[in-house]
């Protein structure tokens, strides 16, 4: 009898401790939650609301209807996704071997390589973009040298087009891919590869069946960061695209000037947000996000 009472009391005590603990954890996350609500949820919600306000101040779909009237909007969205996907893929093709190479080096040499990755990362985006313009334009350094040594007779059009935009964006985005990928590769247990070899796998087979799958979480994290950052890019395509590459962010800015209203611009942002969410949702179905989360946590 008394044993049951004691058990009950104990249970109540445990519950109290547990709820107190939950409260403490909630208290710890509170500052972050407040920041998210105040700086992200409220402004985004407000812009979402404004996108449904017409020129006369009443509820209206005119900011969305406009996008269906001009084919320019759909082309701008296609360009935005095309450039973002291409940049992401090129970053992966360049960044993966580099990260792998760095992860195989000794700590000392890997750190020296990392400085090479980080120095451009710390340089102003605008400076780097203009530097590319100086290097790559028609009478720029690269074309002049190539013509002087007789490699080409006519200057190659590197900038003021998609090529220039991609060069500039890949250069800026590469560290965002390399940093999470390299951290992930460093944490992969070398003994797994040794075990594969001892079981008779060739180095190629060991790489593809053991190392690569273990590096996927880092790769996916990097790809995701690069892709999402690309979608909102403004400065680099505006300068290196020469007006021939128009991305969503540029149209958002020109719509503010054209219609004098936040609504006209935020409608574009809402569409971009929805399309991006849909794409990421599909991607997460193809590659399980759970898996990504679990492995990254490990």
């Amino acid at each position: 009898m008394s044993g049951i009472i004691a058990e009950k009391l104990n249970e109540q005590g445990l519950q109290r401790v547990a709820s107190k603990e939950r409260l403490t954890f909630f208290g710890l996350t509170l500052p972050y939650l407040l920041i998210v609500v105040a700086l992200i949820i409220i402004p985004v919600g407000w812009l979402f609301y404004l996108s449904f306000i017409g020129r006369d101040g009443s509820f209206s779909f005119e900011n969305y209807e406009r996008m269906t009237k001009s084919r320019a909007y759909i082309r701008i969205f296609i360009t935005t996704f095309k450039i973002s996907i291409l940049t992401t893929l090129i970053c992966a093709v360049i960044g993966y071997p580099l990260s792998y190479f760095m992860s195989q080096l000794s700590r000392k040499w890997a750190n020296i390589c990392m400085i090479g990755v980080l120095i451009p990362f710390w340089t102003s985006l605008l400076v780097r973009t203009y530097a590319w313009l100086v290097l790559l334009q028609k009478k720029g350094l690269l074309n002049n040298i190539a013509i002087d040594i007789g490699l080409i007779s006519e200057p190659i059009k590197f900038v003021h087009n998609t090529t220039g935009t991609l060069i500039g964006m890949v250069h800026i985005m590469l560290p965002f891919l390399i940093l999470p990928l390299y951290a992930n590769m460093r944490s992969i247990d070398r003994d797994c590869l040794k075990a594969a070899s001892s079981l008779g796998a060739t180095p190629t087979r060991a790489f593809w069946t053991v190392f690569f799958p273990l590096s996927v979480p880092g790769l996916l994290a990097g790809l995701l960061i690069v892709f999402v950052l690309c979608l909102g890019f403004y400065v680099t395509p505006a300068i290196l695209g020469g007006g021939r590459v128009i991305m969503a962010a540029m149209k958002i800015s020109s719509n503010i000037e054209l219609y004098f209203s936040w609504g006209a611009a935020s409608a574009l942002g809402v569409v971009l947000l929805i399309v991006t969410s849909v794409i990421l949702f599909i991607a997460s179905k193809l590659v399980s996000m759970d898996q990504l989360g679990n492995r990254s946590a490990k």
């Binding site: 320019a72 028609k138 009478k139 505006a238 021939r244 020109s254 004098f260």
Partner: protein, 352 residues
């Protein structure tokens, strides 16, 4: 003791009162003006803003801004950042149509000597600039494109071009290039078909358009670096680039005259003083002084009549009668009516 406290409190109040009175008096004779920065605002500041402020015995604080959309956002959000802004006539007209500007009081501001059309309900014209077709003299020598027809003729004048990334003055150029007489340009443009005709003209040379420029600094750089062989752009920028050694020339036959002026945002705190200050800035001596810094001509015809400018310098101004006679004057009414529609159509053409 008590007496001392009362005395020091009253002293303190007196001082506070003086400071406050000073503060109010200070606000009464201080104006805030915004413009575009760079070589342009430097000329305005040294030639107009500060000398005019000195003459009136007031303080004028300067800043830069991002255009008429900044005025709209300021007025709509009830903020109070500046009393006067410098703006292109077309943007000023659309701001007026949006109801975000104060009507200018022309009984205070004297525009009796202004060139025809160089002031409007919401904008008092201050300087005149032109959009021209500039070409590289290394590529074409002295026989460069002299008219808009030449600019659009890729057979006669092979080479890369640049045009603006928005509609401003580009459709007029295209129609002039298509053989529309100057006095019928805005008649033709007064319908979507007319706008489409102009866009088709641009489409016809689109493979030769290497860059769509977005700023005056950019088109000056494009010419200086030889990135393109010809471009549309503002005459003053090309003159400055030429002084810097760029191989660039242009002909006034391609000129499309536009003007810049001053406006007052709706509800400006110091509206009456702002009005008087604009009146002061309209005087010919300030305009003559401004034109020493950049080749943007005066709107006040007295500058020429009083001989306030050296002849050689005067001949460089878009508004000099010798130059103005060849040029089309940009229609602010057309922009107030068609700007958004034409802009969307222009973007569509660019993204094709």
């Amino acid at each position: 003791m008590t007496f001392n406290v009362i005395k020091s409190v009253s002293n303190y109040l007196t001082i506070a009162g003086m400071v406050m009175a000073g503060g109010i008096a200070n606000a009464d004779d201080t104006l805030r003006i915004v413009s575009w920065g760079g070589a342009y605002q430097k000329g305005q500041s040294l030639g107009i803003f500060q000398p005019a402020a000195k003459a009136m015995g007031i303080t004028v604080k300067e800043d830069t801004y991002g255009g008429i959309s900044d005025v709209k956002l300021m007025v709509k959000s009830g903020a109070d950042k500046f009393d006067i802004f410098s703006s292109g006539a077309g943007n000023c007209a659309s701001g007026g149509a949006e109801g975000i500007l104060e009507k200018l009081d022309y009984s205070v501001i004297d525009v009796s000597n202004h060139l025809p059309g160089m002031y409007s309900e919401y904008c008092a014209g201050a300087d005149i600039f032109s959009v021209v077709a500039a070409y590289n003299t290394d590529t074409y020598g002295d026989n460069g494109p002299k008219t808009w027809a030449d600019f659009f003729d890729v057979e006669k004048f092979p080479g890369t071009r640049a045009m603006r990334n928005n509609v401003g003055a580009q459709l007029e150029a295209a129609l002039l290039g298509d053989g529309v007489p100057m006095d019928q340009v805005y008649e033709v443009l007064d319908s979507e078909e007319g706008i489409e005709r102009a866009l088709d003209k641009i489409r016809s040379i689109k493979p030769h358009i290497a860059v769509w420029w977005s700023s005056g600094a950019q088109h000056a750089q494009l010419m200086k670096d030889g990135e393109v062989d010809m471009t549309t752009g503002w005459n003053g920028r090309f003159d400055v680039a030429k002084e810097d050694g760029a191989k660039v020339a242009y002909d006034w036959q391609t000129g499309i005259m536009d003007w810049e002026g001053y406006g007052i945002p709706k509800g400006a705190k110091n509206k009456d003083l702002a009005m008087k200050y604009i009146a002061e800035m309209m005087k010919p001596e300030y305009m003559a002084e401004f034109a020493k810094y950049i080749t943007y001509g005066p709107t006040n015809s007295k500058v020429y009549e009083l001989g306030l400018m050296e002849d050689a310098r005067a001949l460089q101004m878009p508004s000099h009668p010798e130059n103005a006679q060849h040029q089309l004057t940009l229609s602010t009414e057309w922009y107030a009516k068609w700007r958004t529609i034409a802009s969307e159509m222009y973007t569509e053409m660019m993204t094709e």
